[in-house]
Structures are given as structure tokens and as C-alpha cells.
Symmetry: C2
Subunit: 284 residues, 2 copies
């Protein structure tokens, strides 16, 4: 595995392999890798000639009072995990390599950035779309892999790829969960042992929504009530949002029909955790 | 010359030629072609294996009270001019081929979009940057050619290319002028014969700025005064702006030093005309 820190090295690597007719699978991450990230790399490995991963804690997607400074980092452990997963090129740039001193160009995906996390995190998806487009332009990947845990992020990137006529295939991959169901996230590292136990309520709330859906419940407010109740049973949780939305537009539903997403964001101590579930007619 | 209207045809054409190792020169236009556009195509022809041109009156770069509906069009004449200039592929899409029904992704280049035309035309450069990035993604050009008459547009596109790590080389080409010095523009078609005569005042004002610069004048306000006076001598002109700015940032100057641009926008009857000149120590 080659490790590079300069954009120009990435471009040269990509040009060489694309000129050879090879496919490139790209896995962009912010590091502090867990089994969710690793599963994306393994999938990229199985589907492409070349696999690239990036580790970059992107300042542009953090708000002024968010956790940019204390976001967990583990470059050595991450490097080993990438190597084990079969990554060919690992890009670990510094912030100034990605954002030059006069940087001033941003990509905004309007509608799908607004609901859900868009409310509490203004500018977040602008930062995500911008850095992902930059990475796409550096790597020119055939396929790029993202986890469904960040469902809204995935929709933002899919919409950007469609609207800007990008050639990359954006692949959304299943959320990887701990044994008790908690979605894997680098931010789980913020949880105290007590908070960690309570965090399972996010997944359980989503399962209760799935059970309601399987029974044919049609009132969105009923889902929200049940999910919110499950989460608020835990003493340290503070709901940011609990929503039932259209799975593509992410807009609120008047009635439950079509593809439906249950989505939530919950503060638990120092962590703000998100999770979601696409509801299915038959329990998955 | 092949004429296509679908994005997918463009992508196939581009993939085929780039896979052959051929270079592609791209000339994006809004049509109603004049000698300025044609000079870009000829330059593209001389520097590339394949030459593509686009004719698309881009709704995203027009404000609600601007001239989108009455913008001059001449598809037959344009087609002949492209053929004569040696264009290989001409892309003439309809608006719905470029902007799908849920289109919602925009590129904003912040600082350089704000001064000059940015004030009178909010959203204009957002529309320009967005459509140009889409065309770059469709054509994957080696070089893209733009006229310096639209100097701020050129700076916006150059900044976007740098910030988003694009591989295309953005080439700014000399303004082509009528015999009396009026910069060629599709919007010159709006001028009555009387207004056409008065329009030469824009070029003459720039020449007077150049003469001041050659003499070593250091006060920006002096340039503005002289240019404004020359334009306002004509009875039908209304100055939108007359400015002396830094040639890269386009910001106002405290004193005349470094690369300097004289730039102006003037309303003349139904036309809003722009022109500019990079000032040189020795008269060009």
C-alpha cells in the first residue's frame, strides 16, 4: 500500500491506472476507522482493479461549535486497517493541501441538504459535497463507497453526481452495527460506558418503527411518538430530531406511502449520534 | 461536424476520443456567434485533436428581469460558423436536457463573483460556474477556451478549476473588437444605429485609462473620473460601474500597483454592455 499526502500524487496515480483501463474504487473517510469503513474497503476491493481510501477530517463540514478539534484520530491504527483491507493507495492530506489560502468555491445541493441534519448543522452538507467533489476530481473513481448510516450524506452525494453529470457510480452500503444494534460510528468513542448502554435505544426505536410499518400503520406522527418515547426512556438522551420522511426527497410525509425512511439524531453526553432505517413491508 | 442534443452522446464522444489518447478543446457559448467566438474555435482547432463547441442559452445565469427570452438566437447561422471553424462536435441541448426536473446543485465561487457584475447580477456567476462545471464533466476537455471580454467570468472559472482540482486547462483569449474598437458581443445586436455609434465610448474610455497608466498615474479615482466622463459624454449611456481593480482578486485598489484591470458596464438602450482592459506599462 502506497501512502501519499499530495493531490498531485493522487492525480498521477489515478491517470496511470485509468489509462491502463483499470477501474478505481474510492472510499472517502474521516479516519478513526471501524468495521463500517473496513466493510466499504473490502467491497471496493472485491469490485475494482485498484482501491483508494482517504483519511481527511474535513474542516469545511464542521460548524464553529462542533467537534472538529476533538474528533478522534488514529493514523497508525487506520493505516494498518487500510493495509489489511487491501487498499492500494491511501491519501492522508493536511488541511492546507486540500484548501489553499484563497479557497472560495463551494458546492451546494439545495433541497436534500435542508431537512434532518441540515437544520442543526448549517453548512455541513455544503462542506461534504465540496470535499467529495474535490476527491472525485482527484481520483476520477469508477465507484465511490459510502455507508447508509449517513443516509442524508449519501443522498446529497447522489444528487450532486446526477446534477453535475459526474461519471462516478455512488454506491450506498449497508450500515454495520455492534452486536446490540448500535450503528458503528467514530463518534461512539465519545460515549461513557453508561451512555454506551443507553445508545442502543436509537436502534431499538428504529426497530419499533419497522414493526409499526410491518403492521401497516399509516400515521407518521404515530411512528415519531413511539420512537421518541423509546429514546426518552433513557436518562441521558436529548432528541435532536426523530422523523419519518420520504426516502428520496427526505421531506416530511403526510401519510405513510412509497419508500419511507425513519431517521433520528440524538445527543448523548458529548456525542451527537445519528441512525436511520429504510422501512420494509416485511420485517428484514 | 456532428451535431448532438443529448448529454449521453457527448459523454460517449468524449470517452471514445480520450480513450484514444486524443486531446479535446472545448468552446462553450450561448450562440449568436460572432468573430470573437469563432476565434476561440479556430484556436481550439489549432491546439487540439478534437474540437467541441456548445450553444446553450443557460437559464441559470439570467436574473428574473434580464434578457433570457429575447437573447438573440441563430441556430442555422451558428451551425455554419462552427462547421467553417473546424468544429468536430456541436452540442445544442434543450434546457431540460441540462437541468432535470429536480435539479438542485449549484457551484458558488465566492469572492471573485462579488465585485463588478456580481453586484448588478446576483446569481449570475453561480449560474455560469454551475453550467461550465457540468459541461466540463460531460466533455472532459483538455483545454477550454473563453474570451477575456468576459473577464470576471474567466476569473470565476479559473478559480473554480483550481479550487475543485479540475484537470482542464482554462485558456483566456484576447477580446476581438470591431474596427472602431467596440468589443464583439452578441448583445451588440440590441443597439440602434445611434447607440452603436455611442458604444465606442466604452473602448475609448479604456484607452484613456491605458494612457493614464502609461503616464504613471497612481490615483484610482483619477482613472474612474476620466473613464466615466468619456462615457457620459454620450447622451444615451447610463454607467452601471466604472472601476479600476486588482486583475486577480477584482477588488478595489487603494493605489495603482501590481496587475490592474480597468472594467466597465454601461447600459445603452436595451443593451447592457461590458468591456475591460488589462493596463500595461507601455501602451499595447
Amino acid at each position: 500500500m502506497e501512502i501519499v499526502t499530495a493531490v498531485e500524487q493522487v492525480k498521477q496515480w489515478s491517470r496511470m491506472h485509468r489509462a491502463n483501463g483499470e477501474s478505481i474504487g474510492l472510499v472517502p473517510t474521516m479516519g478513526y476507522l471501524h468495521e463500517g469503513h473496513v466493510s466499504l474497503m473490502r467491497r471496493a476491493r472485491s469490485e475494482n482493479d485498484q482501491v483508494a481510501a482517504t483519511i481527511f477530517v474535513n474542516p469545511a463540514q464542521f460548524g464553529p461549535n462542533e467537534d472538529l478539534e476533538r474528533y478522534p484520530r488514529d493514523p497508525e491504527g487506520d493505516t494498518a486497517k487500510c493495509r489489511d483491507a487491501g487498499v492500494d493507495l491511501l491519501f492522508m492530506p493536511g488541511a492546507s493541501e486540500v484548501y489553499g489560502p484563497d479557497f472560495q468555491t463551494y458546492v451546494t445541493v439545495e433541497q436534500v441538504s435542508k431537512p434532518l441534519c441540515g437544520g442543526a448543522r448549517p453548512g455541513h452538507f455544503r462542506g461534504v459535497a465540496t470535499v467529495v467533489l474535490k476527491l472525485f476530481n482527484m481520483f476520477n473513481p469508477t465507484v465511490a463507497y459510502f455507508g447508509q448510516k449517513d443516509y442524508q450524506q449519501l443522498q446529497v452525494i447522489r444528487t450532486m453526481a446526477r446534477d453535475l453529470n459526474l461519471d462516478v457510480h455512488v454506491c450506498g452500503c449497508e450500515t454495520i452495527r455492534e452486536e446490540d444494534g448500535l450503528a458503528m460510528s467514530s463518534r461512539n468513542a465519545y460515549l461513557t460506558p453508561d451512555e454506551r448502554k443507553q445508545a442502543v435505544s436509537l436502534y431499538q426505536a428504529l426497530q419499533e418503527a419497522q414493526a409499526l410499518y410491518a403492521k401497516g400503520e399509516s400515521r407518521p406522527e404515530k411512528y415519531v411518538e413511539v420512537m421518541r418515547k423509546r429514546i426518552e426512556r433513557e436518562p441521558n438522551t436529548a432528541v435532536d430530531y426523530v422523523k419519518l420522511v420520504h426516502a428520496e426527497t427526505l421531506e416530511d410525509l403526510d401519510a405513510v406511502s412509497g419508500p419511507v425512511l425513519a431517521a433520528l439524531a440524538v445527543k448523548l453526553g458529548k456525542a451527537r449520534l445519528i441512525d436511520n432505517m429504510l422501512l420494509m413491508r416485511t420485517s428484514a
